[in-house]
């Protein structure tokens, strides 16, 4: 190649690069849209962030404009502060983080207006303004959840993750891969405090156990913690011991189903290491599960159903679709370590549905729970919906935020104003995603929105499920490496209730991963 020709090539490349840059920059110029045609409806945006209540500390809610157009302009404004204007050739709207944060913080309790313009066939169109109230109350700054593939029996990819709500930053809390073949699940926190955490784990090599990470304690407890609830004092945790069997449907939308063949409640006092069954919530004739403490720590709420079968009925028992859980509560005196008598809060006979996963708001006013047609595992039940009970009156209502698909695994923020929950909406009922919703003083939950991601098309091709979302008040301080190291050690406490620490074999379905 001659020197002259080489120079020509360099010049050509430079011209191409320059042209591309000019083209890209010109697309981002803010156009004049004074003569835009008004379109009297809201624009179609994806994800659906229209008419929602926005947390003032949430990451930019990037979206995609699903309207025809070669250029788009989005103006995000509120009463105070500078408006954010984004002009682009692409339908994907990326909101700059700094201005977004400033705008939301300056307008707590106000409204956020989003004007969307699209230029199609040379004509600008302006759609009706999206008006989203900005809540006065922050959402918890972190979310801990489980990411897992659409597992049935194999548990090769599963992990507990945490996500900073003000950004898109996601980090691993504990990866199942660190236990070779392992499943990590049922993470729980005391009063939304990331410094008091329990994570259940099932490993073929390292046994079934729970990791306690509380303040400066990091221990492996040789107990099979099922669904876990920390006492508000942080001194003990109640947990369920479940003999769960997974089975499969030959037809119908949902393939998977599970049944508790036996279940009981137990508790572990961390100060003296005592582990015992909850005397009146470990009935051999009933299934007890899903413990949840009242914020004052005086009552343990839980779900209970009669065992309808005998051993000779086989597995799954033919009555599997008749199992319906009642909502119960039992009094507990932490100082005397004394339990009271079970009381029925809400009977399945009254509702006609199975009552599951009670969670009480930290201010003690509301009890959020699921109800579905039958069984113990609402995430596999398309009929599962969220209900709110006013604890002062005992009245409950089905929330308007439900969809035709399963809603479950809900948690409260520590200020009782936000809930995070799992829902299978938006993708035909197959994948579980995390949704957030504002709950006002009257206990009314507002239109939910999917956990925002940097890429608005993220969920369109995301093949994992995000479940058991737990709102927490900060990052989990224990490093994943430390958790994994402890998970691989021998347990310090071993209970005789759950037969824990026996390596999980694949022939025991209840130990396999579930959403």
């Amino acid at each position: 190649m001659t020197k002259k020709r080489r120079w020509r090539l360099v010049l050509l490349a430079a011209a191409l690069a320059g042209g591309t840059a000019v083209w890209a920059i010109s697309g981002q110029r803010i156009p004049v849209v004074d003569e835009a045609v008004q379109v009297p409806r809201l624009p179609r945006i994806h994800p659906d962030y229209c008419e929602i209540v926005i947390p003032p500390n949430i990451a930019p809610m990037n979206f995609e404009v699903r309207e025809p157009g070669s250029h788009f302009l989005v103006r995000i404004r509120s009463e105070k502060g500078d408006a954010i204007e984004i002009g682009t050739r692409w339908s994907r709207i990326s909101i700059p983080a700094g201005p977004w944060r400033s705008l939301l913080q300056a307008n707590r309790g106000g409204n956020l207006h989003i004007d969307v313009y699209g230029k199609a066939a040379g004509q600008w169109r302006q759609y009706a303004t999206i008006v989203n109230p900005i809540a006065d109350a922050d959402i918890s700054p972190y979310l801990a959840y489980r990411r897992i593939g659409p597992v049935h029996n194999r548990w090769t990819r599963v992990g507990v993750y945490q996500r900073e709500m003000g950004t898109y930053r996601e980090s691993v809390v504990l990866d199942g891969a660190s236990l070779e073949t392992g499943c990590v699940n049922c993470h729980s926190f005391a009063n939304n405090d990331p410094r008091k955490m329990l994570i259940g784990l099932r490993s073929t090599k390292f046994g079934n156990a729970a990791i306690l990470a509380a303040d400066d304690r990091l221990e492996k407890i040789g107990a099979k913690f099922g669904y876990t609830a920390w006492h508000p004092s942080g001194r003990l945790a109640a947990y369920s011991v479940n003999n769960v069997w997974q089975f499969f449907h030959a037809a119908g939308m949902e393939v998977r189903d599970v049944i508790d063949i036996d279940a009981a409640l137990a508790y572990c006092r961390f100060d003296d290491g005592k582990m015992a069954l909850v005397p009146r919530a470990a009935d051999k004739a009933r299934l007890e599960s899903y413990p949840a403490w009242s914020p004052d720590g005086r009552y343990l709420y839980y779900c209970s159903a009669p065992i309808l079968w005998t051993e000779s009925d086989g597995l799954p028992p033919p009555q599997y679709a008749d199992v319906k859980y009642d909502l119960m509560k039992i009094r507990y005196d932490i100082d005397a370590d004394r339990w009271g008598e079970p009381e029925t809060v809400l009977s399945s006979r009254e509702t006609g549905l199975s009552i599951l996963q009670p969670r009480i708001s930290p201010d003690g006013r509301f009890l959020l729970f699921c109800m579905c047609r039958y069984g113990c595992f609402p995430v596999y039940q398309p009929t599962s919906d969220l209900y709110m009970m006013d604890l002062a009156t005992g009245e409950y209502t089905r929330l308007e935020i439900n969809s035709e698909f399963s809603e479950s695994w809900h948690s409260w923020s520590s200020n009782s104003r936000w809930i995070a929950f799992s829902s299978r909406r938006g993708n035909g009922g197959f994948f579980t995603r995390c949704y957030l919703s504002f709950v006002d003083e009257e206990g009314r939950a507002h239109k939910p929105f999917v956990l925002p991601q940097d890429d608005p098309q993220f969920y369109d091709s995301f093949l994992d499920t995000i479940s058991v979302p737990e709102l927490i008040d900060g990052p989990i301080p224990v490093a994943g490496k430390a958790l994994a190291r402890v998970a691989r050690t021998d347990p310090v406490l071993v209970d005789a209730i759950s037969g824990a620490s026996t390596p999980a074999g694949s022939s025991v379905p209840w130990q396999s991963a579930r959403e």
Partner: protein, 612 residues
């Protein structure tokens, strides 16, 4: 190189290397997705750039000629790298050592591993070293700036394989340039880089920060990692050896005395040295000898099981049923297992030869359940993939979904599984779920067109009523629910037939079930339905079942009623004679096989296995 290209293309068949990704090794390590987020994710992590290129290039092996070209190009590049190293040490090109890395790569391809990432990382590091050697920096800047800087750059591009860079630099500085302290300082400063960048900056475990290139990821199976280790060690070893050799030559030349070295006393060693050195022997002879050695090494490491297993599965995956049977027929019976069985039975069904030829392949009384369940001993994903295909074919959509999901979680977003799950969800009237799988599939460059076409169809009609596959599957899909822990084969097939009386696959496999469970009476009872499924005559094995049933009930009128072929009746007589004449079962078995009865149902019924 031409020979190498021809060997990889025709003998190894790169299409099978591509097919093996996801089966022999996890697909997730080589999964590629288009788009900025995926690229950025790789751009930001150590070794991510090479990983990205590997992920992009690996699927290109689906075109055999291109895969062979890439494989040969890599081999050629490693060859040139060895040449460069020996030249750097002041020695001429050495045929024997230069063909080592290509031989290792050839062996890996012969074993159906995909060493693309390992080879690319290595070549990047060698290129980096080449630049360093050309720049030949001097002074303290070498170990203070140049080596750590280049190490950091290489670590970011190629990952932990970059630990070879300071090793090569140290050898170069100490033995070739004679700067011992600079060499040792470079080694120390260079080796610190993965620790600082990997372990401290990127929070990687120290083991991965330094030895990540030896971890079983991205296409190379666990058992093949020793080859990768040897491949990486080859280059420092060559440079070290060449430098020492050169030093020895220089030393010898410097000595005026003719005192022979101890080695020279060894006649054989001297001959070998003379042979290896390019200037002292015939180039053609050496080339031939080395090629022969490489061929022998490759042949010794050839795994026929893997080839036939992958070939059978590959052909079944692409509905090339006759080729699948042809590939399976090459498999020695002792290595025939459920992975073959599932494919062979499907291929026999699709070629319409199930009732005539199934006993030409190994069959046992328990083989039938392999089609429907994955045993606990099968801990890889292929059985799940195969069972998913079978269930999807036959109309057990929920079971197909379950097994496809197991494959997805087990190996990653394998395009075949994404397509399967998209189809399943369309059939189940869940277009929104299908779209998620199709959008994931559309991010794979080679499957983008298929995914977009299906997305377009879904946009036009969410039920895709006009799609023949969807219509067929909806027609056979179970609609009445039942739950169970254990798969009851007969109950399953009867349910499928109750759902759709025209489900030929369910009918054929019901007959297979009756044959394999020793129930010729049920085969006879169902012969009346043959015409409903388009049979013009009675397949051979069904005829044999009639003979077996007639013999058991002593009702030979059945043979006339069903028009049993004389040769089938003759076989029955022959088998009876052999049984009567043989002193024991083993002798009878051998004699029956010798008489050509090994592929008959009568043989299976008598001995419990087919006589393949």
């Amino acid at each position: 190189m031409l020979l190498s290209y021809a060997y990889v293309w025709w003998i190894v068949d790169p299409r099978l290397v591509d097919h093996g990704v996801g089966i022999l090794s996890a697909y997730s390590g080589l999964s590629f997705r288009m788009g900025w987020p995926f690229f950025r994710e790789h751009l930001l992590r150590p070794g991510g750039i090479v990983e990205y290129v590997t992920r992009f290039s690996s699927p290109l092996f689906c075109w055999g000629w291109l895969g062979a070209l890439i494989g040969t190009a890599l081999a050629w590049a490693t060859c040139l790298s060895v040449d460069a190293l020996t030249r750097l040490a002041g020695l001429p090109r050495g045929i024997a050592v230069r063909l080592g890395p290509p031989a290792i790569l050839l062996v890996l391809y012969t074993r159906y591993s995909q060493p693309l990432r390992a080879a690319l990382s290595l070549l990047i590091v060698l290129a980096g070293f080449g630049i360093y050697a050309r720049l030949a920096p001097r002074g303290r800047a070498v170990w203070l700036i140049v080596v750590p800087g280049m190490c950091a750059a290489l670590y970011h591009i190629a990952g932990s394989a970059s630990v070879l860079f300071p090793v090569l630099v140290a050898i170069h500085e100490i033995l070739i340039r004679g700067r011992r302290s600079a060499g040792l300082a470079s080694l120390a400063s260079g080796l610190m880089v993965p620790g600082i960048l990997g372990a401290m900056w990127f929070d990687l475990p120290l083991r991965r920060a330094y030895g990540g290139f030896l971890a079983a990821v991205s296409g190379v199976t666990v058992v093949d990692w020793p080859y990768v280790l040897v491949l990486h060690l080859w280059f420092p070893a060559v440079l070290l050896g060449a430098a020492l050799c050169k030093a020895r030559i220089v030393r010898k030349a410097g000595k005026s005395t003719s005192a022979p070295s101890p080695l020279a006393h060894s006649h054989r060693w001297a001959s070998l040295l003379r042979f290896v050195r390019a200037e002292e022997s015939s180039r053609g002879t050496k080339t031939m000898a080395v090629f022969l050695s490489v061929a022998v090494v490759a042949w010794l490491h050839h795994v026929p099981y893997a080839k036939f297993m992958l070939a059978t599965d590959y052909y079944c995956r692409h509905a090339m049923w006759s080729q699948a049977l042809h590939a399976a027929a090459k498999m020695p019976s002792r290595q025939y297992n459920s992975r073959f069985h599932r494919n062979v039975m499907r291929a026999l069904y699709h070629t319409g030869r199930l009732g005539d030829e199934m006993f030409r392949y190994p069959q046992t009384t328990s083989a039938n359940t392999d089609l429907y369940v994955v045993s606990e001993a099968e801990d890889d994903v292929l059985p799940y993939l195969q069972v998913a295909r079978f269930f999807l074919d036959i109309g057990e959509i929920n079971r197909a979904e379950r097994h496809a999901c197991e494959t997805l979680t087990g190996t990653g977003d394998l395009p075949e599984v994404l397509e399967q799950l998209a189809t399943i969800n369309v059939v189940k009237d869940r277009p929104d779920t299908a779209r998620v799988f199709l959008h994931a599939l559309a991010k794979k460059p080679l499957h983008r067109r298929v995914a977009r076409e299906m997305l377009r169809k879904l946009a036009d009609d969410p039920r895709m009523e006009d799609d023949p596959t969807v219509s067929r599957l909806r027609g056979v899909m179970l609609t009445q629910d039942s739950v169970s822990f254990v798969v009851g084969v007969e109950a399953t097939l009867l349910r499928l037939l109750a759902r759709n009386r025209r489900n030929k696959m369910a009918f054929d496999f019901l007959m297979v079930h009756y044959l394999l469970t020793g129930r010729p009476d049920q085969v006879v009872a169902n012969l009346q339905h043959l015409r409903d499924f388009g049979y013009r005559g009675i397949p051979k094995h069904f005829q044999e079942a009639v003979v077996a049933y007639a013999s058991a009930t002593d009702d030979w009128s059945l043979t006339e009623e069903y028009g049993i072929a004389p040769e089938v009746l003759g076989q029955a007589v022959l088998l009876k004679q052999i049984l009567e004449a043989s002193p024991g079962e083993q002798e009878a078995r051998k004699a029956a096989i010798a008489a050509g009865l090994g592929d008959s149902y009568l043989f299976f019924l008598q001995f419990g296995t087919s006589g393949w």
